[in-house]
């Protein structure tokens, strides 16, 4: 999967799960402060990333995913590996 496709898919998942505008989903946007997610929302998001990208995100890594950009780079790295 290309880098652009990953970013697009991540954006779509975030829009679906958090019900926010696509325009808000910028790389620097924080899930909690900018996109209104609470702790349960983030767990659900991470699970959806795991399902859609067929990967496993350990809890200690998931805790480091705070922004849209964090999520995209983590998934990109995992796909390169």
């Amino acid at each position: 999967m290309s880098t652009t496709n990953i970013a697009e898919k991540v954006t779509q998942i975030i829009v679906d799960k958090l019900g926010c505008d696509e325009a808000q989903v910028k790389p620097e946007a924080s899930f909690t402060t900018d996109l209104g997610a609470d702790s349960l929302d983030i767990v659900e998001l991470v699970m959806e990333f795991e399902n859609q990208f067929e990967m496993s995100i350990p809890d200690d890594k998931a805790e480091q995913i705070q922004t849209v950009g964090d999520a995209i780079s983590f998934i990109e790295q995992a796909h390169k590996a």
Binding site: D16, K17, L18, G19, L40, V43, E44, M47
Partner: protein, 414 residues
């Protein structure tokens, strides 16, 4: 003692998704039954139920919330919202003195079923959705309604199977009567038309299996009745202290004057054969109301269309009311709505309230064949509405476990 009146109603039901539509359909004698659309019933003994029709959750909640709420909570928010808006209470209330008592007999059974199925068909890794528990627990509807409006009074879910939401109403009445709160959203919702819900009640032989004539399957008091028909939906009431309601110029539907709660202490699912718990609960409710039995005109019975239950309840009515039983109008609106389990008390409370308000009795439909075990001199309001002055109406609900709850609604006459 403080008096309590009903100032708001809300309903999403198999007969319509607002109180007016529901009530008009009920008076018209409409069957709410349909072949189940929610899942494939090929292998199920019962293939029909009373589902909501054309209900759109997005009327009440945002799109992203739909997947985070069990249908039982969505129906609660819908009916609760209607009731709150109907009452106009938001114009004048102390948030610390408004409660929400909202029941469900089961809670989020669809959510439970989906999450356990996912787990059981996986590789054993416990990957549960983080919303699994808060979607499933039966008290969450009360929480959602409180969060929507900022109502910070007592907040919980009375759970007593099919008597649940009558208990919510009875408890709300008590809290207001004794001065703890000024007003309360009380009601119930249920969404158990799922594989687990239908299959589970089928296993108990509790459901009608009349698939070839499902529209008339819910036939309380009929000799050929063969079990209840599952319904779904949510219904809510606003109970409010009389002076509080008068002060803000609220519309008053009627007064709630009595409630009773008892147990059969007899059997897991079967009613006491002589209707002992039913007798006691009606007696308690009428006594608290300060009425004599001949001051009640209408009894909306639990009357689920099961062979044993209908007979036990009528026995109890005859025993308690004596000769006055023959002057009553008795009806089972479950013949039309199906059995909404934890929402049954609330939907039937609305039937009683509207009956008191409009002086008309909704009928027991689908009756064709008299049962020799039922006293045919009783007026069971068969097949068509009857107009009569209704000063007071009694609503009965009974639940598996032997829980009994009744409430008395009376005309408000100042």
């Amino acid at each position: 003692m403080r008096r309590v009146v009903i100032t708001g109603l809300g309903a999403v039901t198999p007969l319509g998704n607002d109180v007016g539509t529901f009530w008009n359909a009920l008076l018209a004698g409409t069957s709410g039954a349909n072949l189940i659309t929610k899942f494939d019933t090929t292998l199920f003994k019962t293939k029909f139920a009373c589902e909501l029709k054309n209900f759109d959750p997005l009327t009440y909640i945002e799109k992203k919330e739909v997947s985070r709420l069990d249908p039982s909570a969505i129906y609660a928010i819908a009916a609760g919202t209607q009731a709150v808006e109907d009452s106009g209470i938001l114009s004048s209330f102390n948030p610390d003195r408004v409660g929400v008592l909202w029941s469900s007999g089961i809670g989020g059974i669809l959510t439970f079923q989906q999450e356990i199925t996912n787990f059981a068909t996986g590789n054993g890794t416990p990957r549960f959705n983080p919303f699994f528990i808060p979607k499933m627990i039966p008290d969450i509807s009360a929480g959602h309604i409180s969060m929507k409006y900022g109502f910070r009074g007592p907040n919980f879910a009375p759970v007593a199977a099919c008597a649940s939401s009558t208990i919510a109403i009875a408890d709300a009445f008590m809290y207001i009567k004794y001065g703890r709160i000024d007003a309360c959203v009380a009601g119930g919702s249920e969404a158990a038309i799922t594989e687990g819900g239908i299959g589970g009640f089928n296993a108990m032989k509790a459901l009608s299996e009349r698939n070839d004539d499902y529209l008339t399957a819910s036939r309380p008091f009929d000799a050929t009745r063969d079990g209840f028909v599952m319904g779904e939906g949510g219904c809510g009431l606003i109970l409010e202290e009389l002076e509080h309601a008068l002060k803000r110029g609220a519309k008053i539907y009627c007064e709630i004057v009595g409630a009773g709660l008892t147990a059969d202490a007899h059997h897991l699912t079967a009613p006491h054969p002589e209707g002992l718990g039913a007798y006691n609960v009606m007696k308690n409710a009428i006594e608290e109301a300060g009425l004599s039995v001949n001051q009640i005109e209408y009894v909306n019975v639990h009357g689920t269309s099961t062979p044993l239950g209908d007979i036990a309840e009528l026995k109890a009515i005859k025993q308690l009311f004596g000769d006055a039983a023959y002057n009553l109008n008795i009806s089972s609106t479950k013949s039309q709505t199906g059995h909404l389990l934890g929402a049954a008390g609330a939907i039937e409370a609305i039937a009683c309230i509207k009956s008191v308000q409009e002086d008309i009795i909704p009928p027991t439909i689908n009756f064709t064949t008299p049962d020799e075990n039922i006293d045919q001199k009783l007026n069971l309001t068969l097949n068509k509405v009857e107009k009569r002055i209704v000063n007071a109406a009694l609503s009965n609900t009974f639940g598996f476990g032997g829980h009994n709850a009744s409430a008395v609604f009376k005309k408000y006459t100042g």
